[in-house]
Symmetry: C2
Subunit: 184 residues, 2 copies
């Protein structure tokens, strides 16, 4: 799963598919391929180098020519293997967050404040959903809202500010527009 996107981009080209199909039958070299495909050697070289970089083909000098051959193992793998990206899919993030939330909330109340930073952030974002975007809150209002979930509104208020979820100026608080609290 190194860089599937790059690999797919390299395969997804007419000329390179033609080259791969020829190499499927027999090893070949730049000039011969260029002639068979009615292209210049420069163009064929450009494509072969691209494919070589990603391990699609291998090359080795054989007397006069530099012979290119397929890396056949690669093509045995199912397409499935090639679409997985490094990116953590948002949906599995969501699943994880739901798990955390359901673990720390019981009957709508927060049982205790997680010690792990990551989990604490998830919990804070969940509580933040009670706040409206764009509206200003007094400290009293903030405490009152948080108090619905847990007695220690001071700690939680401080955490929410620490995570950048709530903004604060003097006695006024508001929900920040951090895209991380986005509710999709």
């Amino acid at each position: 799963m190194k860089d599937n996107l790059a690999l797919l981009k390299v395969i997804a080209d007419k000329t390179r598919l033609d080259i791969l199909n020829i190499l499927l039958n027999e090893d070949s070299y730049v000039e011969k391929l260029a002639c068979e495909l009615s292209l210049t050697p420069a163009t064929v070289c450009y494509h072969l180098k691209k494919m070589e970089m990603l391990g699609l083909v291998k090359c080795s000098r054989s007397q006069f020519y530099i012979m290119y051959s397929l890396n056949r193992e690669l093509f045995e793998k199912p397409l499935y293997e090639f679409i997985k990206t490094d990116r953590i899919p948002v949906s599995s993030t969501e699943k994880y967050e739901k798990e955390v939330i359901s673990h720390f909330f019981r009957y709508g109340k927060l049982t205790h404040i997680p010690s792990q930073r990551k989990k604490r952030e998830i919990i804070m974002k969940e509580i933040a959903k009670q706040f409206e975007q764009g509206r200003k809150y007094s400290e009293k209002e903030v405490n009152s809202i948080i108090h619905r979930f847990h007695e220690d509104h001071c700690t939680i208020r401080r955490e929410m500010i620490g995570f950048g979820i709530l903004g604060r100026e003097k006695e006024t608080y508001w929900l920040t527009e951090n895209e991380k609290n986005n509710n999709c």
Copy 2:
């Protein structure tokens, strides 16, 4: 093997890989995907339609949303299946031609003239290799060269002209520059 190039081109895109990865976990719909990927619904729609056309995903209306899901069977197949093109690889054409030639020639002589047009053309092209590019030949010379392979130089000469391999004007003959006789 309908149109592998088109299919690969559709898979080989960052955004579409992201979408596929999400759909790998759970079905989804345009708006949700757009939000998760920080794109406009128009863009997501554009990609989903592309993938739908090639059978990568399916969609069906479910109450309020149009749900998109993966066509999972497709991804089980090995990459190998996706690189085969409709194009007849030149190298297997070559192999076929060699077979035909070795079938009709014995000890350097043509045993008989093939009745199949396709095979006849291959044989004529083989004989044409005795002619030089750019040089003019008299009818006598042409007959003499052909006679090395077969008695009936008249028929063969006529066939070679018929296939456009030899050009003729009055009593003069020459090898045409048809790219089909190209020897790479």
